[in-house]
Amino acid sequence: MKRSGPRETPTPRDPMADTAAGLTRRSFLKRMGLMGGGLVVYLTIGDGAGTAMARAPRQGFLGAKVPSDFNAFLRIGADNRVTCFVGKIEMGQGPITSFAQMMAEEMDVPYASVDVVMGDTDLCPWDAGTWGSLSTRYYGIFVKEAASEAKGVLKSLAAEKFSVPVDRLQTEKGTIFDTRQPSRRVSYGELTAGKLIERHLETLPPLKQHTAYTISGRPHLRRDARVKVTGEALYAADMRLPQMRYARILRPPAHGARLLTVNTAAAEALPEVEVVRDDDLVAVLHPRPDGAAEALASVKATFDLPKTGIDDRTIFEHLLQKAPPAAVAAEAGDLAKGAQASVTLLEETYLNSYVAHAPMEPHAALATVAGGRATVWASTQSPFSVQREVAGALGLPDDKVRVITPFVGGGFGGKSASAQAVEAARLSQRVGRPVMVAWTREEEFFFDTFRPAAVVKIRSGLDAAGRMTLWDYKVYFAGRRGCENFYTIPHHREAVHGEWRMAPGIHPFDVGPWRAPAANTNVYARDLHLHLMASLAGQDPLAFRLNHLEDARMRRVLEAAADRFGWTALKSPSGKGYGIACGIDAETYVAAMAEVAVNPDSGHIDVKRVVCAQDMGQVVNPQGATIQMEGCITMGLGYALSEEIRFSDGRLRDRNFDTYAIPRFSWLPRIETVIVPNPDLPPKGGGEPAIICMGGVLASAVYDATGAKVRQLPMTPARVKAALEAVG
């Protein structure tokens, strides 16, 4: 059976084949060997002006360890195929396609001749992790620079070969020809064949202008679709090695529970079972996953269970009590003056429940540790972090650990943390065989790094002319992203009490980044509140926003959304069920409008239509960008309508899809997307922005439909009914 991972070159099956790490010259040579020959053109890059460093500084936590040598990013085969190496991973968001477009475009090679290798710590240049809608807007420039520079070196090689000046040469479809004598032509593969060349380019060639693009900016279908529709695409849990064991690990029934006693005698008596106890880690191993599950069921354990008194209803009071002092994200004017200038004040509190990532693929990792080396196939968004964590857990140097990322079955931030990889590596080291740790759905929920429960308090004011004079905004534990105001309000302050990251004594379980962290909560609160303010001012909610908005990009996306939606001025609640939300995320501007109907008897919200307009600067793959918008809108229905983790005393009530409801086919509204062209702006984020509007656009639509203020997400039927009853 044919097997393949996201790399279109074969996955190395021998885990001991290579463990070089770091993109040193030695590792390029190793990579050549590992990938079955082929040639690499060498370039010695200094640190001064005129190098790639000058064009995209490798600074800060995102870029500091990214190599500046273009060889880290590409390899030209003698067969003229170009392999693009990136430290990012493919989890459905589509960079396997867009990186190939960028590489092909800048190198002048056919799109189909580019292969993409992702997320392999031995083969790929270092990367901080795949999150934050950074792949195209940040890492993309490294790929484009590498391609551009490689093309420049190839031209200088061709100039020598033909004994003509470089400026007489042109590149075309992976070849270089003499413009005065076009029959003089050489392919990239021929130029690199048989040679190892080190060359320093004194002057970097400029990157192409977008107006010259023929590959970037054009819609491309997913290049991994074929292997995904045939079942050939491999995910971490699909990996197999001889003599491997499947592990199941003893888990506590609640967060904060302490193991008191454990009896593994019955498991040990089962055939083929191996029991491992390593400090806190109690695991059963078996040649088959169902055998391991059976063995685990026979383990008897008792736990000391915590009594915290905190549950999904009391959590908000708890959070407010534990809130740290404010970090002020932005402020202007004087809140007291703003209040004095107001004739109408509106003060509201908005709540968000904990939300799970719930990717369809639970975390999984296969690890093999032997001879002072480790190889781990992991479903992760952060292969280089996993490398460091595994090395730390095993007591190995980082460069003795290789992490390979197969296709990842969805992440959404939840696979930024990959504890399963360390578990698999520890067990493999202990038993001397490859070990698979594939979390069950219950484990996936239990160990998720949830989107934090959060509170937003807004106090705002209007003057007699219906203009906003005051915006006093406090967000507790959602985080800063997306809280800043882009409306013109003379007296405002955005105060951030606690971030979305784990903090001691705050959350009853782990929290972490959830697709567009913080922004979903902030935009929900802001846009529902703005809708209520417009209503108090007696103004159309779109006109109200535009009256307070000078930012031209935001006005454009709002107007584009209104145009597609067919927005007509209304005074909310109009009964039409129209909502609006907009925001800035990953430097992308996004606006959404929605139409809902609310069943007054059941409290059920029927989302009929969502229109979303987005200005994301230059777009590498309009097809992929559109699909990300559709995916964001669909996924966002969940946190807006149904998704929340219910719990008490550290015990989760929702641990599978029977009670944790994610969006289904029957929930889908009509979705229309508009990409507002802005090609002169470098590419901005695309994987997250459209999701930030979903809470706000639906909550404001519910208000417009019924006058009900649903002040907590998700807007479950019970909460909608309660809000309807408050309207009377």
């Binding site: 074929r226 759905r441 097809q623």
Partner: protein, 159 residues
């Protein structure tokens, strides 16, 4: 343990020495190395492990291997013939009806089961027919479109 079971797998007869109580999903994935059917929930709640048993789309995590004795199993690995994609596979790829791809094999087989029993489903029937299969990436509208395209291409046949 050690019962001899026979069934048809992707058109080929298979004989296995296996405990009849074992779950079909794990026998497929582990013993038979067919990893296209995915574990997603273990309780028949997500559809990622959907296979066809005598043309009926069922979650392989809810069936024992003993229950399929003498029956015909179809997995995603057997859908393409001689390298040619099935119309459903073609349609999914042609309209990008997938992102991460983890739910895709189960989704395609669920749709195949639907089209075998109802070759020209309405849009509402497609939605109802696929509603138990979960997709987290949000490819739903494209999946519906892909099934419509495939239904038209199959013209009531199986391929």
């Amino acid at each position: 343990m050690g019962k001899t079971l026979q069934f048809t797998l992707n058109g080929t007869p298979v004989t296995l020495e296996v405990d009849a109580e074992r779950t079909l999903l794990w026998v497929l994935r582990t013993d038979l190395a067919l990893t296209g059917a995915k574990y997603g929930c273990g309780e028949g709640l997500c559809g990622a492990c959907t296979v066809l048993v005598d043309d009926e789309a069922l979650p392989a995590c809810q069936i024992t291997i003993g229950e399929v004795a003498g029956r015909e199993i179809q997995t995603i690995e057997g859908l393409a013939r001689n390298g040619a994609l099935h119309p459903l596979q073609e349609a999914f790829a042609a309209v990008d009806a997938l992102q991460c791809g983890f739910c895709t094999p189960g989704m395609i087989l669920k749709a195949y089961g639907l089209l075998i029993s109802n070759p020209q489903p309405s849009r509402a029937e497609i939605v109802a027919g696929l509603d138990d299969n979960l997709c987290r990436c949000g490819a739903h509208l494209r999946i519906i479109h892909a099934v419509e395209i495939a239904a038209a291409a199959m013209k009531g046949g199986r391929s």
